[in-house]
């Protein structure tokens, strides 16, 4: 059964990923002929209907691309439009943005660690089943996730699709009292984050390494979240304005997605492992100490160990949120006035799943004439498929059932956010 030379594996609906995806593996004559991560999330045409909208609208509209990382869309949209309008946002307002983003990192990473990824390592179909044996652990995860959501509510006004974000800053600045209450919860959360890191460090990680070039934003002096310029492990460095010169999205016939690659170089990977590998030096001393204690080392090229990086980033985000709250003085005006002009603007920020690029062209009246959005999952697609190809080749002796299960886990290592696929394709899949 398991040694037959020709076999086809189909996972029609991937579980515990955000959005809708499927996997297709074809084996011929004992060799892996094709591996496809199918994205059948229907197209929603955001880039098309953004045309003709006012320059003030993308934070509200693009948030709806992803319910798990709406802040990433809001922050990249703000960055791009403010760039077009020649405005830079600094000081307390910029700090509030970073704080809001820390909330999203905590909420999204803890969701992935506890509810989506850990059940794979411990052999449960879901966190709800896991809670039957490990209730304390799941409760700790839910409590930690809740603190991330509370940051989103205090700063953003709502945990999913925050309403308080506007071009130039915020509609209303949180009060000192709200922040003090939040800080008390974050101090408890810091212990939970440290316990989380120790917990995931005890998991067993298959020995698997990739050699993908890794890409992330970087900002000297601190761990890049809401701004920075692009760097890669291959030594490439360029400003966000040059993103489209370096990142090429190719539409390959018979492929289900636009595959991004670096011009003249090939596939690459963005996300927590890339950030850690490129920006480890800028983590806080505590977060770096945690990384050392749980054995992460200088770089992370084993996708299974990305759960460790997420745990370290949660420690960092909780600590950073505490620092930002500690220094917080409500700004007199919570936004910078932004007047439109005919120009093109570029923005990129580090979504929980990796670098998220936006570009908008505006006319003199402030109407959008074109929009482009490059989400992390489309950038990672080629690398994920390459990993799956190698992964399957080494495991052809496994039963279909086991191999399917293992491949699903391999995909979940990347926390793919398929709803974010602003321009993944919807192809009819030949399952014959």
């Amino acid at each position: 059964m398991t040694h037959r030379p020709d076999r086809t594996l189909d996972v029609r609906a991937l579980a515990r990923v955000e959005g809708e995806g499927a996997m297709h593996v074809r084996v011929r004559a004992g060799a892996v002929e094709q591996v496809r991560l199918e994205i059948y999330e229907p197209p929603r045409f955001f880039e098309a209907f953004l045309r003709g909208r006012r320059y003030t609208e993308p934070p509200d509209i693009t948030a709806r691309i992803c319910g798990i990382c709406p802040v990433a869309y809001q922050m990249s949209a703000c960055a791009a439009i403010e760039d077009a309008c020649g405005v830079q946002v600094d000081g307390a307002v910029a700090d509030l943005r970073r704080l809001l983003y820390c909330g999203e990192w905590i909420e999204s990473h803890v969701l992935h660690i506890y509810l989506l990824h850990a059940p794979d390592f411990l052999g449960y179909p879901s966190a709800i089943d896991m809670a039957k044996d490990h209730r304390d652990v799941v409760e700790r995860g839910l409590a930690l996730k809740k603190v991330g959501n509370e940051i989103m509510e205090v700063v953003g006004g709502r945990a999913i699709h925050p309403i308080n974000v506007r071009i130039g800053g915020f509609y209303r600045a949180p009060s000192r009292q709200q922040m003090t209450a939040l800080a008390a919860k974050l101090r408890v959360a810091l212990d939970q984050a440290l316990d989380t890191a120790r917990w995931v460090a005890g998991f067993e990680f298959p020995d698997f390494h990739h050699d993908h070039e890794m890409l992330a934003l970087s900002e000297p002096g601190r761990y890049a979240i809401e701004r920075g310029s692009v760097v890669t492990t291959g030594g490439l460095a360029f400003p966000v304005t040059a993103f489209e010169e370096h990142v090429i999205e190719e539409h390959i016939e018979h492929s289900t997605a636009l595959h991004a690659h670096l011009a003249g170089r090939g596939r690459y990977l963005t996300g927590p492992a890339a950030r850690y590998t490129l920006n480890r030096a800028w983590l806080s001393p505590l977060a770096r100490q945690v990384a050392d204690d749980i054995g992460l080392g200088e770089r992370c090229d084993n996708p299974y160990r990305s759960i460790l990086v997420r745990a370290v980033e949660v420690v960092y985000a909780v600590e950073e949120a505490l620092r930002l709250i500690d220094e917080y003085e409500p700004p007199a005006v919570p936004y910078v006035d932004v007047q439109p002009r005919a120009a093109t603007g570029y923005g990129a920020t580090e979504a929980p799943r990796g670098t998220l690029f936006h570009r908008y062209a505006l006319d003199a009246d402030g109407l959008i004439t074109s929009a482009r959005i490059v989400p992390p999952t489309s950038q990672n697609q080629a690398s994920i498929e390459e990993d799956l190809r190698r992964f399957v080749a080494d495991r052809l002796h496994l039963s279909d059932h086991q191999l399917t299960h293992d491949c699903e886990q391999a995909i979940r290592n990347y926390d793919p956010c398929i709803s974010c696929a602003t321009h993944f394709l919807d192809l009819t899949v030949d399952r014959s």
Binding site: L115, A131, N164
Partner: protein, 260 residues
């Protein structure tokens, strides 16, 4: 007696409404003790066969395949509840209903011929009978828990259908229209969020869709009085509930304003 089975289904959407269920951090495990989660792909790889006692449906119908799939979900569900603006009114992706989808396709994709999509994004109720519609982009966590609780004990969910204006009064918000001249869709928008936007010094942007007895004509007049152009009013009407009849009417009023 066996615990009732709960299924969660996704169509074209951002995942935010089903995430709201996972965001019930204090209640999730208690809820999981009262129901059998039989189909919830975002949370579990275990899938139990139907029929299901309660199905929560997120997302709108934008492909021929999904139009078929929702029929099967309906057949397998004793009670079917839509959660959120996409499932209830077609969502922001229904902006295509007012545009040329072929042109949209060619703007986003290099090879548009590989994209299979319908020309419209339609709510679940355009395809099958729906037992209850919960509004919001995203749905409100407390309202979602109220709906599930009500269904579990067999009563009608207590979800008021009045406007956001009521919630402003309940919350003690200063009216942003009267005090600041803000453009606010609160008068025609369904309550449920707790008047979040006015509490943050901005006008409501209508993400919960229309309330039960809206007056789009009067709403258009209010928006004009704040200095909005007819184009601005049309854009305000055309967001996350663009295909809801009230918002179509608001958009029409603005179009007539432009013509005159």
């Amino acid at each position: 007696m066996d615990a009732p089975t709960l299924a969660v289904w996704k169509f074209a959407s951002c995942d935010g409404c089903q995430l709201t269920l996972l965001d019930c951090e204090d209640e999730l495990l208690a809820l999981a003790g009262r129901v059998r989660v039989a189909h919830f792909l975002e949370a579990s790889r275990e899938v139990l066969p139907g029929p299901y006692d309660v199905s929560l449906v997120e997302g709108s119908i934008t492909t021929a395949e999904d139009a078929e799939r929702i029929r099967r979900v309906r057949e397998d569900s004793r009670t079917l509840v839509t959660i959120g603006a996409c499932a209830t009114s077609g969502g922001v992706q229904a902006l295509r209903n007012f545009a040329d989808v072929e042109e949209f396709r060619s703007v986003v994709y290099a090879h548009p011929e590989y994209i299979s999509t319908l020309a419209t994004s339609t709510p679940i109720s355009a395809h099958v009978d729906v037992d209850f519609e919960l509004r919001g982009c995203p749905v409100d966590r407390r309202q979602l828990l109220e709906v599930i609780t009500a269904l579990l004990v067999g009563r009608k969910p207590n979800i008021p259908a009045h406007s956001v204006c009521f919630e402003c009064k309940q919350r003690g918000n200063v009216c942003v229209v009267v005090a600041h001249g803000a453009a606010c869709l609160g008068p025609v928008t369904h309550a449920g969020c707790g008047a979040l936007c006015p509490a943050h010094n901005r006008g409501c942007y209508g993400c919960f869709g229309p309330m039960d007895t809206p007056n789009p004509q009067a709403q258009a007049g209010l928006l004009r009085a704040t200095g909005m152009s007819d184009d601005d009013i049309q854009r305000a009407a055309r967001t996350f509930n663009v295909s809801a009849p009230t918002f179509i009417e608001l958009s029409r009023v603005a179009t007539r304003g432009k013509a005159s």
